[in-house]
């Protein structure tokens, strides 16, 4: 079965997006570029294997390295998402603090 880079990249991007719905606007560009690179890697592994340039064992090792790279990207996206959530929470706390001080007419907090 011949792998298609565009379809693979699209499927990977969907998987990234599914896990990071709320933070998607912040991480979309990075996820998009990494999905394409990872899809190209998978297609290249397939090509090298089908043309006999690498053995089954070598293909498996390359695929493991590629999988690790994909997981590392997903972890980065998760971390970026956490930072975005943290900033949102702290912004809300700051707004609450300002609202309380304004309502009271003096800086209680």
């Amino acid at each position: 079965m011949k792998l298609d880079v565009t379809e693979l990249a699209s499927n990977m991007l969907k998987a990234f997006k599914a896990n990071l719905k709320k933070q998607w606007p912040e991480v979309k560009e990075y996820a998009d570029s990494e999905s394409k690179k990872l899809a190209e890697s998978i297609v290249m592994i397939e090509r090298l294997k089908l043309t006999g340039k690498i053995t089954d064992e070598q293909a498996k090792l390359h695929f493991e390295i590629q999988k690790n790279a994909s997981r590392t990207v997903l972890l980065a996206l998760e971390g970026l998402g956490l930072i975005a959530v943290e900033q949102a929470i702290n912004s809300a706390i700051a707004v609450l603090r300002d609202s309380v001080n304004t309502a009271l007419g003096f800086p209680l907090l």
Partner: protein, 153 residues
């Protein structure tokens, strides 16, 4: 005699709870992930440079005996030591589990790279593939680390 809470008692308790909540809110900010660590940033950046030097060197040794694994053992030994040092430091930083997991994946990839090289010399196509995947990993680790400076996603 049975004590009952008067309206006044409930009002006092409510105000106390609100006051304590406001104290908590005013005194704390939420932190879901570790702070930026410059040493981790520098070490990972240096390691990426080491890997690129290795790939460029092996590429230039295509079809020559120097390409064999035995001539590059020091790269693997030194890289393992450096990855281990980065991992130890990452583990020492609180709320840094994501970066720790990224480093573990990098360590595993390095082991797989070594196994590949032991099988045979790395061809230019293989090096291209490896360079792409390792750079993806390094970029992901650094992207997250830099974002921990807060204010830059």
């Amino acid at each position: 005699m049975r004590k009952t809470f008067t309206t006044y008692n409930w009002l006092c308790i409510t105000l106390l709870i609100v006051y304590l909540a406001l104290l908590v809110v005013s005194g704390c900010s939420v932190k879901l992930i570790s702070s930026y660590d410059e040493k981790t940033d520098n070490a990972v950046t240096a390691l990426q440079k080491k890997f690129e030097t290795f790939f460029v060197t092996v590429e230039s040794q295509e079809d020559s005996p120097e390409c064999k694994y035995e001539n590059h053992k020091s790269f693997y030994q030194e890289s393992k030591v450096e990855v281990s040092a980065i991992e130890v430091r990452a583990r020492a930083v609180p709320k840094n589990e994501i970066t720790v997991e990224q480093i573990e994946l990098l360590k595993d990839s390095l082991d797989k790279l070594e196994k590949l090289h032991k099988i045979s010399c790395l061809s230019p196509e293989q090096i291209s593939l490896l360079r792409s995947n390792f750079n993806t990993s390094f970029t992901a680790i650094l992207k997250l680390e830099l974002a921990k400076k807060r204010g830059d996603i």
